[in-house]
């Protein structure tokens, strides 16, 4: 095999980036792969707390949606049936069906709640995928391989949160401003939130978290007892969407 100078330098650069990226994400992730007794345990479990009290200070704000969809080249189709969305809002009673009584519902009805992929502990979408085009990483992120996906949409049927979108048509003409750092998709594949794994790899917080002016989205490592997400879960009563299904969502809401 021959390799010219240009290819070699390119490969070396990419390798260096990966090494540096890994190293820089370590502080976010917590240091050791081994637990106290020396057994291997996941050192990172990414999760998000959504503080609705802060989020609702400005009900019209869509900064997190815009930041996410811009960063990931999410198309905007004119027809709602073909909609692709990674993070969006649902009325409270849709995000949390059967949570309230008639009286509490009067308070919360119609309240916009940001929703996205829950990056479940036990994701039904991963269980059903016939090609392993979607899988769960050790750090809990549910990933998608858009080159392997056959577009059968079994995952979309399996997801109890409606978190998966399918490209019913070619998405490329419908991307408002192309972000060259992130791939676009072809027609006929499923996509969804990736918890900004590409940004995590560079040690950055997810785009939605960074974009929120109220700091209502808090992202962090559940395995780290000192993390802010753990602190919030310790001190607040939180809701998860449909916990009774056993999926183990990694998104927690402070109401």
């Amino acid at each position: 095999m021959s390799m010219d100078r240009r290819t070699f330098l390119g490969a070396a650069g990419v390798s260096a980036l990966i090494v540096v990226g890994r190293a820089s994400v370590q502080p976010l992730a917590g240091a050791d792969r081994r637990g106290p007794a020396g057994e291997t345990c996941p050192l990172t479990r990414w999760a998000m707390v959504i503080d609705l009290r802060r989020c609702l200070r400005d009900r019209g704000c869509t900064d997190c949606f815009a930041a996410c969809h811009r960063a990931h080249n999410v198309p905007e189709f004119p027809d709602r049936a073909h909609e692709v969305k990674w993070i969006w809002r649902e009325p409270f009673e849709r995000a949390f069906p059967a949570q309230g009584s008639r009286y509490t519902e009067a308070v919360f009805r119609g309240t916009p709640v940001p929703v996205l992929c829950n990056h479940c502990d036990n994701p039904p979408c991963v269980r059903v995928c016939p090609t392993q085009a979607t899988w769960k990483r050790e750090d809990g992120i549910v990933m998608m391989d858009w080159h392997r996906c056959i577009g059968c949409r079994y995952c979309a049927a399996a997801c109890p949160y409606g978190s998966r979108s399918f490209n019913w048509l070619d998405p490329r003409p419908h991307i408002a401003a192309l972000t060259p750092d992130f791939p676009t998709r072809a027609a006929g594949v499923v996509e969804k939130c990736n918890f900004c794994e590409e940004r995590l790899a560079e040690g950055l917080a997810p785009a939605c978290v960074e974009a929120c002016p109220e700091k209502a989205l808090i992202f962090g490592n559940l395995e780290d007892p000192t993390s802010e997400v753990r602190e919030l879960l310790r001190t607040h009563h939180t809701l998860r969407r449909k916990p009774e299904l056993g999926t183990g969502p990694a998104l927690h809401y402070i109401v």
Binding site: C129, I150, C152, A158, N167, T247
Partner: protein, 388 residues
């Protein structure tokens, strides 16, 4: 090779029928090419209703395919001589049904060129992987059995001994294809309409009613068009099978209705409300579902009354009702009913589009073509043997 020469000579009526089917297939193909070019966006499917007419036909036809066991089992295992002439028709019908199933899955794929990824990355935890294996295996089993027995018949010899284990294997395999197909749906946590252990038994009961009902209708058509006569006993026994399986099917449906409405769990009731009454004023399937219920009830009256079941005309009418009723139930209601309302409680809209309906009709025409050609071969071989 196989006795294809029998299929390429025929009457003017035969060729007119083949030509009509070819025209429907051509239309479906043209629309499919368009879908291939533009994407599944040319169907009525949407973010919330991600499966529709294609997958519903697939599900219904897996049942038709499985139902061959209703003729094969009594004939081979219990030596019901009456089914001697129609066993092969049942096997050929199931071959046509599996071909349609595979085509319906194929046209539903967003990236059809990658469909072999299912085999390149075998995934035992995915029911779809098992379903594909089950269907492909069933196709192979039935093709082998039909080919070998028909060839033996033509040579006036007993079929080779090795075919018996294959026949035996095909019986549980038939049950498995529809069970696994039910598992596609009944194992999903967020879809209460499908989340019932009764789904697989219900699938089997409805399959074992609709499949033999179709077989009776096809046999009667063939009897009218050719010199073939299955004999009154075969039709009578098939009619009895349809009667019992249809009773069991309706019983299962009522079981489901009891659990859903006595428990009063809203998420479970909403799907039935959507199908039978409509939600938020959206009620596209209501007339269909009630028609399905009415046809089921009427067909049972005809089937249970011996006088009507024994008469060929009323039996045919009852079979038509059974088939239509169950096609509506599975080929329309089952899939869309599972998606509406969405897991978030939204009442999503779905109406199949013209391209989608055309592609669906095209695949049905492929099925009819396969049945026509295979039946013609089988019947010509029979006539040839009778003339000797």
């Amino acid at each position: 090779m196989f006795m294809w020469e029998k299929a390429v000579v025929g009457s003017r009526r035969y060729w007119a029928w083949i030509g009509a089917l070819a025209a429907v297939i051509a239309m479906g193909t043209l629309f499919y090419l368009r879908q291939l070019q533009l994407g599944l966006g040319i169907t009525g499917l949407s973010r919330d209703v991600t499966w529709g007419l294609y997958i519903a036909q697939f599900t219904f036809l897996v049942g038709v395919a499985a139902s061959a066991v209703m003729v094969v089992l009594p004939y081979y295992l219990h030596d019901w001589r009456a089914f001697g002439r129609i066993a092969i028709l049942g096997e050929f019908l199931s071959i046509a049904a599996v071909v349609m199933c595979l085509l319906f899955v194929f046209v539903d794929m967003g990236q059809p060129m990658r469909v072999l990824n299912i085999l390149r990355y075998p995934t035992p935890n995915s029911i779809m992987f098992w379903d594909l294996l089950a269907l492909a295996g069933y196709l192979a089993l039935n093709a082998a059995i039909a080919l070998v027995t028909l060839r033996a018949e033509r040579q006036a010899v007993a079929p080779p001994g090795w075919i018996w284990p294959v026949v035996l294997l095909s019986m549980p395999w038939a049950i498995s294809i529809h069970t696994v197909t039910a598992f596609l749906y009944s194992g999903l946590p967020g879809r209460p309409y499908w989340l019932t252990a009764l789904l697989a038994p219900r699938f089997l009961a409805s399959a074992f009613a609709s499949g033999p009902a179709l077989l009776i209708l096809l046999t009667l058509v063939v009897r009218r068009l050719t010199r073939f006569d299955p004999g009154p006993e075969a039709i009578r026994k098939l009619g009895l099978i349809v009667t019992y399986t249809m009773i069991i099917n309706v019983f299962f449906v009522l079981m489901e209705v009891f659990t859903v409405f006595y428990s009063q769990i809203p998420e479970h009731m909403e799907h039935y409300r959507f199908l039978f009454a409509g939600l938020e004023g959206y009620a596209p399937l209501v007339p269909w579902m009630w028609a399905s219920m009415a046809l089921a009830a009427l067909s049972l009256v005809l089937l249970i009354t011996p006088r009507f079941r024994e008469r060929r005309e009323t039996l045919a009418l009852a079979c038509g009702m059974v088939f239509t009723s169950l096609w509506i139930d599975k080929g329309l209601g089952l899939i869309v009913g599972g998606f509406v309302p969405t897991p978030l409680g939204a009442v999503a809209r779905y109406v199949p589009t013209l391209p989608e309906v055309s592609i669906t009709l095209g695949i049905w025409a492929v099925g009819f073509l396969v049945v026509t050609v295979l039946y013609k071969i089988a019947l010509e071989v029979r006539e040839e043997m009778a003339a000797l």
